[in-house]
């Protein structure tokens, strides 16, 4: 798996059109988000984040209680809760309801969980027709691909790609005009909506005390999916619970802003069961499928539990320097970006995707934008440790072991350290305008094969320090200050070295 991760990185990096597309799209997301969380527009943004974090923490720490409350509320209104320990149990439950009711077509609203459990494949295998109705997901279903981004699934497709795809698969006249293509999708999908016997949605939030699911969207396909077919199945991970409807006042202010830079998306649906007496439209039956699939294992871990706070806004992907270069399809599993890098290894156990926790520069941008304050960089570090413990293949080689022994010996001998510093200045190419060294000889070439090496500073920190102490208090201060920039660079260099070690 890890080998294919590395291969995919190179495929993504060498596709220049793709590089440009990812960069422009994520940049637009970044700017739109920044505008709507700015202090002049949303003065209590930080308080909202803290409150959301506390609500998630409380709900998860008492999850058994809230799940049982939820179940009794759903049942009170005639709905049914389907508990599913894993993906297979979940797909089996959906298939058996469809078969029992004689349903052939299931319209689907975008759901990351459906990707996670491979619901479409399972439905197809059983002779049912799943139809993705979110425009991006519809495009991907026709193309036979998986989502590129948690929020914008077809981010990597150009209008020409979509035009070609629609011409081939839908038999429409070739067009590259988004409104024309969108109108065609509307026509095809509207017919499916009116025929489908089942609507399958995800859930952005599940409200325990109301027995309700909450769904946010811009297109209206979720409203159609949950209003037209006679059966509605909402599928959700058990971590999606929040205690009360009033808590939405916090979460809804964060989700739209973080995801697409909207104070509120075009539509937010709060759905509490099937149609009630007197109501004209709406489903006749409501099912809420609650999935574990590895979540209880994450929940049991005090430190990593916060991974489950995620509300799937995708903001961490947009700001991630790694996601912005390698793109969504490079990540294995349904979830891409920084959250995928911590979620996927935890779902499948440490060591299953050994490269993932390392696909980060630990810059911390993800933690800064996370609306529920998940400390993703810390999770990555913990997962790195766990991965190293279980992946025998990646245990340090003898050369590495020897290297680290020499390193620790050098670090404990100040004089030796300094002499080696002098030596490196003599051996390494002279730093011309602070240019980084692109290749090193011998075994060190392994290191520079993937990254550049910083040049040695003109004067080491120790030299600067001695100069400062030697100099008279007043006369030399100015000169020393002039050298501080150099000294800082030196410190940073030391930091980056240990990071990579």
């Amino acid at each position: 798996m890890s080998a294919s991760f590395h291969e995919k990185i190179h495929v993504a990096l060498s596709d220049l059109t793709l590089q440009k597309t990812i960069r422009t799209s994520t940049q637009r997301f970044i700017e739109k988000r920044r505008d709507v969380v700015a202090p002049e527009v949303l003065p209590d943004y930080q308080e909202l984040r803290t409150h959301a974090n506390q609500l998630k923490q409380h709900t998860l720490e008492n999850l058994d209680y809230y799940l049982e409350r939820l179940e009794s509320k759903v049942q009170e209104r005639g709905g049914k809760v389907l508990w599913c320990a894993d993906g297979e149990s979940a797909t089996r439950a959906v298939v058996s309801i469809a078969k029992e009711k004689g349903i052939k077509i299931a319209v689907k609203a975008k759901s990351m969980l459906s990707e996670e459990i491979g619901l479409n494949e399972a439905l197809e295998k059983n002779g049912l027709e799943p139809v993705e109705t979110d425009l991006g997901e519809f495009i991907l279903q026709l193309a036979g691909e998986r989502p590129y981004h948690i929020v914008a699934p077809a981010l990597h497709k150009s209008r020409h790609d979509v035009g070609e795809l629609f011409a081939e698969k839908l038999g429409m006249e070739r067009s590259d005009d988004p409104p024309v293509l969108t109108a065609e999708a509307r026509r095809v999908l509207r017919a499916k909506f009116l025929q489908a016997g089942m609507g399958i949605s995800g859930a952005n939030f599940v409200v325990a005390e109301s027995g309700a699911v909450v769904l946010v969207e811009n297109e209206g396909n979720i409203r159609l999916t949950t209003s037209l077919p006679r059966v509605h199945i909402a599928i959700a991970g058990i971590e999606k619970l929040i205690p009360r409807a009033t808590d939405l006042a916090v979460f809804l202010k964060l989700l739209g802003r973080s995801a697409t830079g909207q104070p509120l998306t075009s539509y937010t649906s709060f759905l509490a069961g099937a149609r009630r007496p007197g109501e004209i439209s709406g489903p006749e039956e409501f099912y809420l499928l609650l999935l574990d699939n590895g979540r209880t294992r994450i929940l049991a871990d005090d430190e990593k539990r916060q991974t489950l706070y995620c509300i799937r806004c995708g903001a961490c992907s947009n700001v991630c320097p790694v996601y912005r270069r390698v793109g969504g399809h490079t990540y294995p599993g349904a979830y891409s970006g920084p959250i995928g890098a911590i979620l996927t290894p935890q779902f499948h156990g440490a060591g299953h995707e050994p490269a993932l926790p390392f696909a980060s520069s630990l810059c911390g941008a993800c933690a800064e934008v996370c609306p529920v304050k998940i400390d993703i960089p810390r999770m990555l570090l913990t997962l790195r440790q766990e991965t190293k413990k279980v992946t025998a293949r990646e245990l340090p080689t003898r050369v590495e072991k020897l290297g680290f022994r020499i390193w620790s010996w050098v670090m404990r001998n100040p004089r030796l350290f300094e002499q080696l510093g002098f030596l490196s200045k003599a051996v390494l190419p002279a730093p011309s305008d602070g240019q980084w060294i692109k290749s090193l000889p011998g075994p060190l070439s392994e290191w520079t094969g993937h990254r550049d090496f910083p040049p040695p500073a003109q004067q080491s920190f120790r030299e600067l320090w001695r100069a400062r102490r030697r100099a008279g208090a007043n006369s030399a201060n100015a000169a020393v200050r002039g050298n501080v920039a150099d000294g800082n660079r030196n410190e940073r260099r030391i930091g980056s070295r240990t990071d990579h070690a």
Binding site: T133, S158, R223
Partner: protein
């Protein structure tokens, strides 16, 4: 062990909780209602609404405005009291008063304009709140390509915090509550904004 028991057991043993153990009190709801009077809310809503918005001086004026927007196109209207009182349901070309789900669906799917009211309207961010009922069906604001909402001024409130203060659990009132804060739209092809992807491409607000 059935999945239900297995999941609950895993959760309890992972968290160190026992069956029927009550949770500590959750963090209190965070609802901060800004001090705004009705007139301020209306002004803000007119400015924030993500479609054309008008203020009607009377029910007759509202009827006039709606008739002008319909412009002779086919329309379906809900049975909301304000629409009946204003005579909007009896405008030429407007169908209303459905009780049969199949008939309602067919007419809504084939009408160009859908006319509803709203149970609440939020000033910030500008949005309509519709609770599904026998008088306000969910398809009328969804299937047609144009949506007009006629809203009594008394239902205009400041925003989400006030809504959840006056309606702490919408599930007690209806099976479906929807916030409408814009036309149906997508950016799924090259992030180019395209309207009317599944629902209405135009929305209008008339405050009476």
């Amino acid at each position: 062990m059935p999945d239900r028991e297995r999941i609950l057991h895993r959760i309890r043993s992972g968290l160190g909780r026992h069956i029927d153990q009550p949770p500590p009190p959750p963090p209190p709801p965070r609802l901060m209602v800004p001090p705004m009077d009705s007139e301020q809310c209306i002004e803000l809503l007119l400015a924030n609404f993500p479609g054309e918005s008008f203020r009607a001086g009377s029910l007759a004026d509202a009827r006039e405005q709606v008739s002008r927007i319909i412009a002779g196109r086919s329309a379906i209207a809900s049975a909301a009291p304000v629409l009946l009182d204003a005579g909007i349901t009896s405008l030429p070309g407007v169908q209303s008063g459905f009780t049969d789900p199949v008939a309602l669906r067919d007419v809504a799917a084939n009408s160009e304009v859908g006319i509803s009211s709203a149970d609440y309207a939020l000033a910030d961010p500008g949005a309509l709140v519709l609770l599904s009922s026998s008088r306000e069906d969910r398809l009328i604001s969804l299937l047609p390509t144009i949506h007009i909402a006629v809203v009594p001024s008394r239902v205009v409130i400041s925003g989400l915090d006030e809504l959840f203060t006056v309606l702490p659990d919408p599930a007690e009132v209806s099976s479906s509550m929807v916030f409408i804060a814009g036309p149906s739209k997508t950016g799924d092809i090259e992030m180019k904004l395209t309207l009317g992807v599944h629902g209405p491409r135009e929305i209008y607000l008339v405050i009476v």
